[in-house]
Subunit: 509 residues, 2 copies
């Protein structure tokens, strides 16, 4: 795993090594400057993978041989020997402290593992907030992600962000995320007539003689078309055959994909006929799915038809058959569903979840904040690219209602702020104004997960992380949680840190 | 590799198997409906990875055990036994023909491998077209991609699309892509004064007694500040120390990152001083880099300063030192550079290359076109989601100037169109109108890369693919190659295929 780095980290490493500064104690921080998607919150994710890579961090003989071929030929042999001995037994994470050379080398690896993980977890959380707690959300982005690993990350971190399941079998196998999936248009298109259905017979759930399901479904189709007042000859026979075939195969898990041909005149009558035939044998269909057209509007029409069938054929559960939708679902789609009203029970999201088109990267950076006990400061022409110097503690301040209202950075040596006491702070973006706040409770955000080359705390399971994320989002005040034009969540520094910053700025200017 | 599939492909596979249709001869096509980024061209990429995965396609015992746990408990044992025997000895690619069950199973894997590969290769090609042939382009998206594998794909396919090098060491090691990189702000920030520079001595290139480089650079700094009329006391000493330290370490490869503090008052004078000191010892600096601010404007100012130094200190090569830039570079940035004029020689692109924010997914689909010799058709409420039925050949038609002007789909059994002969065609999007065209040359686009479980043709190297892509782009007429509002590139079908489509539409409606 060690060569997951940009080349300049190696040239800089050689620079530090030749200068004899490679073991200088250093600290770096990984952070972002602006919350994603114009929102006020973000879920941080990627710790477990980061820890896995930290633990495995080594340069193999083959890595070293390759580096020898790309670094200038004047690079000393002893440097390559040194690289082969490197490990991370002296470095923790996401505040990273350790020998300068190692702290430098870890930059890209940690950014790569945290950036997309946090982005897609946050994106998933936004979909969850829009969908509300009851609608099932399914991740189905495998075919749109940046290759197989990108897709696995998308499945894992969407689950953490609040999705319920994934279509990706490998994600299910590797991470234990629930997997779901039924049929595609291609399955339906591969049938043209009822004659192709094989096998044809299905035994009733309670036992008894097997029944010819194509014949039973056909007879139900006549009754359904009459009730729905739709012409029998407009119903696609290949679609009916596909539904019957699927129902024979999965009688307990029958789901109809309604829009291969025409939903109203073909897909829906065919589904109802097959589901009612199954019902007659004691089985319950588990749902319908739509993949095109006006999803909210169609879901209401479908619900109406299902209810009509429930009444007319006296099958009460038929009225509540879950309706699932997909087709380029975005945040905007979910807002439209809410606005127009819908009867949708499950939503599949692919492209707009995994590629995060509203903001396709989080923009985390990783900056040195201290070397050899001296705080580092980056001052550039872009005021926004300035860094906050020094090794820090971070505290989350909560108000009387239990909502977090500010994250506060303090120098490591400062005493922890006390609950109930007035604090003077400077908010990033308005550094010149001092402000006072009184937190009801103070939470320290740093925990030491990695030290002496070892993971120090047992890592939570994926499900525990998912629950923790949902709890954290629930704690947020509505003004910070809202997705559009939220109240900005303030990040502040203490007076002492502000003083340090001002001094360094004056020194360097 | 086998479980890289969405679950519904497995449920459908079971459906086909139970119906005894799993070995029915089937054909599918992988295609997109709209060119990416509103352009008229796309580079197709991902074949080699697709072939690798096809060859390795197997369900292991562990895969089968996992599938047993997620498919309904009624699924027959014999199906799992069958899965364990599957291979792809009967399937080619990207037109995929073989047993129905296998053709179905491959959908997501092939989409996943081709979609992002083609998207990012096309994105890279657009950057190359905007930058012109002489500017060096470097990919540096490792920290913004969807994890390590997404980043590797980005490096590989950006190279194919026309980039020159990458920052990603692992991509260099695995694929032989040239890697580049020098120093980051963190390296510069880790120094505060010249006293920290270790070692301090550098021997002249031609041999002779080593010289104290910090002292030499300091003396040059005085002369540079005088010539540039900038105050010596505004120059940051930590930056100077970092430059000197890097120059001692890499005397033949010295590059200055100019914007850690102030470019004009600190970065540039420090760079010139160190580069002139190196020059005195016989070494040439290889470049400067900028990572913030107005890049085009600054590049011109920097060029002016470098030329001034070239003249005043009589070092002619100094005026042509390459200027590299980075910082959220997008297509728009490159257009601005052209419009305003710039002195930029090398451009590093990260986020906007690898995440493709203008369109973060290509939207390739994979559709059955034939089963058991019968053409398949998907008709839905969305006219655009219709598929073109039947197993096809695809021809690229060229005009007298050698430009391709149309891609033509024909049924496999039709004779190949002849150069110089009039053809009646129907263009997608305007299917009702017949049009006649006379191609000067006709190129058949299909080649059989995979048959009987084996790759049949030696695959080209990455460099060969890169050259082929650039040649193909050069063949395009300017009207199709332009990035904004290009002339749409027509894709058409033959009269015979049009007749089949019309017949099937009438049957199914």
């Amino acid at each position: 795993m060690a060569p997951l780095a940009d080349l300049y980290q190696l040239t800089m490493a050689y620079g530090h090594w030749r200068a004899g500064r490679h073991r200088a104690p250093a600290a770096a921080e990984l952070f972002f400057r602006r919350g994603p998607f114009r929102g006020a919150f973000a879920l941080g994710a990627g710790l477990a993978e980061g820890l896995r890579c930290l633990r495995a961090f080594r340069f193999s003989a083959a890595d070293v041989a390759y580096l020898r071929s790309v670094l200038p030929s004047t690079t000393e042999d002893a440097f390559f020997d040194y690289l082969a001995t490197l490990d991370t037994s002296e470095v923790p994470f996401l505040q990273v402290k350790g020998p300068l050379l190692v702290v430098q080398l870890l930059e890209t690896m940690l950014l790569c593992l945290v950036n997309y993980a946090s982005l897609v977890a946050t994106n998933a959380a936004r979909f969850r907030l829009l969908a509300g707690p009851d609608v099932k959300l399914m991740e189905m982005g495998l075919r749109r992600a940046q290759g197989p690993d990108g897709a696995l990350s998308a499945s894992k971190y969407s689950y953490i962000g609040g999705f319920d399941c994934t279509s990706n079998i490998l994600a299910g196998k590797l991470y234990g995320i629930p997997v779901r999936g039924t049929i595609a248009h291609s399955f339906i298109m591969s049938f043209t007539s009822l004659e192709e259905v094989q096998p044809r017979e299905l035994s009733p759930l309670a036992g008894g003689d097997p029944v010819d399901l194509p014949a039973l479904a056909s007879s139900w189709l006549g009754r359904v078309c009459e009730v729905l007042q739709t012409p029998l000859e407009k119903v696609n026979q290949g679609e009916l055959a596909a539904f019957v075939s699927y129902a024979v195969t999965f009688p307990r898990d029958f789901q109809g994909l309604l829009d291969t041909y025409c939903v109203r005149r073909s897909g829906l009558p065919n589904f109802c006929a097959v589901a009612l035939a199954l019902h007659q044998l004691g089985y319950r269909a588990i749902g319908v799915r739509l993949d095109s057209g006006d999803l909210a509007q169609q879901s209401k029409e479908i619900r109406q038809v299902l209810r009509t069938c429930a009444d007319r054929f006296q099958v009460p559960w038929f009225g509540t058959i879950p309706i699932a939708v997909s087709n380029d679902i975005s945040e905007q789609s979910l807002e439209e569903f809410s606005r127009e009203g819908s009867e949708i029970d499950m939503i599949g999201v692919g492209t707009n979840l995994v590629t995060c088109p509203l903001q396709p990267s989080l923009g985390c950076v990783y900056k040195l904040v201290e070397v050899n006990g001296s705080p580092c400061l980056k001052l550039t022409e872009d005021e926004e690219k300035m860094t906050i110097p020094g090794t820090k503690m971070i505290y989350r301040l909560h108000d009387a209602a239990g909502h977090p209202f500010m994250d506060l950075m303090a120098l490591e040596k400062e005493p922890s702020p006390c609950a109930g006491q007035e604090l003077v702070v400077h908010v990033l973006g308005h550094l010149d104004e001092a402000r006072t706040v009184v937190p009801t409770t103070v939470e320290s955000l740093h925990r030491t997960y990695f030290r002496d080359g070892q993971v120090r705390e047992p890592l939570p399971s994926l499900l525990e992380v998912r629950n923790h994320a949902q709890m954290s989002l629930n704690l947020l005040s509505p003004a910070h949680r809202q997705l559009h034009e939220p109240q900005p969540y303030p990040v502040a520094i203490t007076e002492q840190l502000h003083r340090l910053l001002t001094e360094l700025q004056q020194d360097r200017r």
